[in-house]
């Protein structure tokens, strides 16, 4: 009973945020609406007993990624209302309509054939309610079964950092001569 109430409240928050992202003319308002959506998803995670994912959702997405968005929006000075009459990309609107119809069709298909696609079993790495806390299960899964994927991801992140540093670095000779 309670979980259904929480589900609908969180789902409403998610949808309101998502609509806000599209509807707001000001990019900062859009980014803030995105935070609303991310919070709704975090509440869904708590509702499913995935507390750790909820915390990560808030720390990483709401706390780091959207803050980065906001930084870019504020410091690049694009925080003015958008001019919406002209499409920057030709054919953007028809393409969006096609994707939207496809998405709705997929959802309708899932709703109609819902019995066959949801198994009703709890997930393998984090049980819905019993057992040790999810962080224990998640840690064990990450560092045993999925350790290779985990290490590859960390290598990817290191490459990204090194790449960012190299790209941001001022080449001492070239720049002076270019001036």
């Amino acid at each position: 009973m309670v979980d259904k109430i929480v589900f609908f409240a969180a789902a409403a928050a998610c949808l309101a945020g998502a609509v806000g992202v599209i509807w707001s003319k000001n990019p900062v308002h859009s980014a803030l609406s995105l935070v609303g959506t991310l919070f709704g998803i975090a509440i869904h995670f708590v509702n499913l007993g995935a507390h750790f994912l909820a915390a990560v959702q808030v720390v990483v997405y709401a706390g780091a990624i959207v803050v980065l968005f906001l930084f870019v929006i504020m410091l690049l000075g694009v925080d003015k209302a958008e001019q919406l009459e002209v499409d920057p990309l030709g054919g953007q609107r028809p393409a969006a309509a096609v994707v939207a119809i496809a998405g709705v069709a997929l959802l309708a298909l899932l709703a109609v054939r819902g019995v066959q696609v949801t198994t009703g079993e709890s997930s393998k790495i984090a049980a819905l309610d019993s057992g040790p806390s999810n962080i224990v299960l998640l840690g064990r899964a990450l560092f045993t079964d999925y350790v290779f994927a985990f290490e590859v991801t960390s290598v990817l992140l290191v490459i990204a950092v090194v790449g960012a540093v190299v790209m941001a670095r001022r080449a001492p000779k070239d720049e002076v001569s270019a001036q």
């Binding site: 900062v28 803030l32 750790f52 808030v58 720390v59 803050v67 504020m74 962080i135 002076v176």
Partner: protein
């Protein structure tokens, strides 16, 4: 949902709801009264440091000064600049205050943790912890809330539609984001030694032995504690890291354009955060409410120890403010990225290595030695690379100067 608290283990009835409600209200009042006290305490102590008298008119020793200031703020005119974004301008103060209070909910402020009590208190036929909530994510909640707190500072500066607040908010959010890494890494050391994320279990792990040697400040060997204290000061934007509102440079920082109670809310959030951070330091490193139980009603003693430890840190924050001059912005970034993060990362690996060595019954001499050797190598490489970078930067600067003058 928050299954760890025995309050909810027997199902939810009217009494349980009442206790949960009472705990929330008492927690809120505790922080609010704490803020009123803290503002007076800080002003009085700073006055002593600077050979002044400080507030001395309202009430005994000026203790009611904060209350008078609060009433004044409520009745002041509420201004909003023309160029501001009305929705975000009004939202920002709440985004500062709410996370500041919510963080306090995970702090255990009392309860005997030795013996059979396990930190529970018997109230109206129910066992419960003396903390508003004990979520399974525990200290991660602290990190989540401090990352939400960034929004308050950031949006306040942007929404004001004026330049100094924007600069202040960029500084504030940049420092908060940079120091969150060091903060998180030193928290991980604590979690590693305590074996749990929840604040209740962290306190229980420290209090189990009943001696100071079990406190995390000793168990994690002091380094994470120091890193956490420095990072917390930066996270709070308190002096010596208060360049976000450096008066000489930025008028008043991100809340320059705020007046009346909206300014009051930022002020409130700042002091709430100070109290909460001190409480978190006490919880994570100094055993929370644990301490010897003296004569008299035994449940009063943990609360007394908690308040005493809290007061030490509040006084320390004021002391630092009274004595250390403000850092420059680049010095702060240097300290955060080039010192604190490498130190806390290295210490985390060191502690993890020793922990694994203990679990696997490896030699208790060789493991620390190998760890220290590896650590020294890392420090050497890091220092070498920083030095090389500094030399190259100097050279390229000289080249630049040469070209310009030629």
């Amino acid at each position: 949902m928050f299954a760890a608290d025995p309050l909810f283990s027997t199902g939810i009835d009217f009494g349980v709801v009442l206790i949960a409600l009472a705990k929330s209200i008492i927690g809120f009042l505790f922080v609010l009264i704490g803020v009123i006290f803290m503002i007076w305490f800080e002003r009085k102590l700073i006055a002593d440091f600077q050979n002044r008298i400080g507030p001395n008119r309202a009430g005994p020793w000026g203790m009611l000064q904060t209350l008078a200031d609060g009433i004044k703020l409520i009745f002041k005119e509420d201004l909003r600049p023309d160029g501001s974004d009305s929705l975000v301008f009004r939202l920002a103060p709440y985004l500062s205050v709410v996370p500041a209070f919510l963080t306090f909910t995970i702090v255990p402020i009392g309860g005997i943790f030795t013996g059979a009590h396990q930190g529970t208190v018997h109230l109206f036929g129910h066992d419960t912890f003396l903390q508003v909530a004990d979520p399974p994510i525990g200290v991660l909640f602290l990190l989540a809330m401090s990352s939400i707190g960034i929004y308050g500072a950031m949006l306040a500066g942007w929404a004001s539609g004026s330049k100094y607040p924007l600069l202040g908010s960029v500084r504030a959010s940049a420092s908060m984001i940079s120091y969150e890494a060091a903060l998180g890494l030193s928290v991980v050391s604590v979690v590693l030694m305590s074996g749990s994320l929840t604040t209740h279990d962290i306190v229980a792990a420290q209090a189990s032995g009943g001696s100071i040697l079990d406190w995390n400040i000793v168990v994690t060997a002091f380094v994470p504690f120091v890193v956490f204290c420095i990072a917390a000061t930066a996270e709070l934007n308190r002096p010596p890291f208060d360049f976000a509102e450096a008066e000489q440079e930025l008028v008043g920082g991100f809340h320059t354009e705020y007046s009346s109670m909206r300014f009051g809310m930022f002020y409130l959030a700042e002091f709430m955060n100070t109290i909460t951070m001190s409480a978190i330091i006490v919880t994570l490193f100094l055993g929370g409410p644990s301490g010897p139980i003296g004569p008299g009603p035994d449940q009063v003693w943990p609360f007394f120890w908690f308040l005493l430890k809290l007061l030490v840190f509040l006084a320390a924050f004021v002391w630092v403010r009274g004595t250390v001059p403000r850092y420059r912005y680049d010095q702060l970034m240097d300290l955060g990225w080039k010192r604190l993060i490498p130190i806390s990362l290295m210490w985390l690996l060191f502690i993890a290595g020793i922990r694994i060595g203990r679990d696997q019954n490896w030699s208790p001499v060789l493991v620390p030695l190998a760890a220290i050797g590896l650590g020294a190598l890392t420090v050497g490489l890091l220092a070498g690379s920083m030095r090389t970078a500094a030399i190259r930067r100097e050279q390229s600067d000289e080249d630049d100067l040469g070209e310009v003058s030629a």
